[in-house]
Symmetry: C2
Subunit: 215 residues, 2 copies
DNA sequence: GGGTATCTTGACGCAAGCCTCAATTTACGT
DNA sequence: ACGTAAATTGAGGCTTGCGTCAAGATACCC
């Protein structure tokens, strides 16, 4: 039912809002107050709702492109790596770097906000990650009991670290990820104390993440 | 300036509030609504403020004992372990188990709420952890570049994981910690991509954690 | 340039959660 | 048993943020 033609001023406002939204989201994450976006666009909050209708729609109008591009670049670089371990490790570091460099991407990667478009991106990402993992495991470089679900937990950890140490110690996360990667090399493997998550469990966890508290 | 003698009803209410507070904090963490505590104690929110004056005071009246006892037990067990590596690994797992089993302890351990008493506990804990780490490093079992500040990051990661997967996958954190521990063995060590945090940086990060957003 | 459909505005209502304080109730000493 | 100091109450003010809507402003077509 979307109007196909907007009045000129409405179109202009839409554009101003997109620009402002991208700025604010990048700076403060996907839970940034919408009022601030409206204000930054020089427009009332009512207009924001008129143009987009909901936070989700606004995010979907602005963030997926950024996310797809950033994540795509990292994956591509990883796959271009000759050595599958270097590819894997580079991928992990690359994604964490995105998390550290941009609150909006951090929220996407750690699933703090789930929208339709972002979910699509996550699915694509999942495929690639499974491949990157498998490739490194096939050559016996990445430990065999590591799953893609485990990878998400890595990103969640980093999300937390980055959110709280971004200012005081912007490189702190690198150490943590460094330790972790050393634990993921096939040679380092010792038996794990728990079963991997099923995909359903993962869905459940992610579903809750998108919910209320967000925390 | 504290009144030394309370009227009988006030003393009773104080006790009811302590009980309720401990329950609610254990169940929901240290940011639980105070109104709920008052309600559970069968008392108005005004009374809670009359008796304790602030969330911080209420927490300090109730949580430190729990925290000191739990953390003490884990540390003791770790130090009783013959093998320093087992001691260290057991300590890490033990603390994470506390995080997983009790939101209040999770908040204490990951510094989501800083109060006077809790800060004292953290200081004691710090001493013990430095010792546990040093002991394992002295025998060349724990990698030499691991610091106590890094340990806090481990607990922060776990805090995040536990908070979001407690229901759907209560053991998920064990895998992550397992990977990490494998990366901490001396034999697994590869050069790290960043310097360890100074104590000042750590203070700064922790200070911010206690602040506003908490997230 | 006038009429109308479209768009914008910003004050408003809502919800949580915090904390306060005037009015009321209660315990306790005498 | 009564007076007073101590305690309790809960409505209400505060804040942040969301989302709405009647009234006013504006673009666009003729």
């Amino acid at each position: 039912m979307a109007k196909t033609t907007l009045r000129a001023d409405a179109r202009r406002n839409t554009e101003k809002l997109r620009v402002a939204a991208l700025l604010v989201f990048q700076e403060k994450g996907l839970h940034a107050p919408l009022d601030e976006i409206a204000q930054r666009a020089g427009v009332s909050s009512g207009t924001l709702y008129n143009r987009f209708g909901s936070r989700e729609a606004l995010i979907d109008a602005v963030v997926p492109e950024l996310a797809a591009q950033s994540l795509g670049k990292v994956a591509k670089r990883a796959l271009a790596e000759r050595d599958p371990w270097d590819g894997f490790a580079g991928y992990v570091m690359g994604v964490c770097e995105l998390q550290a460099s941009c609150p909006a991407l951090n929220d996407v990667i750690s699933r703090r906000y789930a929208s339709e478009q972002l979910t699509v991106i996550c699915r694509v990402t999942e495929e690639r990650e499974r491949y990157i993992i498998e490739r490194a495991q096939r050559e016996g470089l990445l430990r065999a009991d590591f799953t893609r679900e485990d990878l998400l937990f890595v990103f969640w950890s980093t999300a937390m670290l980055v959110r709280h140490s971004a200012d005081a110690a912007p490189d702190a996360w690198r150490r943590s990820v460094g330790f972790l990667l050393d634990g993921l090399r096939a040679g380092a493997a010792h038996p794990l104390p728990a079963e991997p998550l099923t995909r359903d469990q993962m869905e459940e966890v992610m579903f809750r993440l998108g919910e209320v508290g967000a925390i």
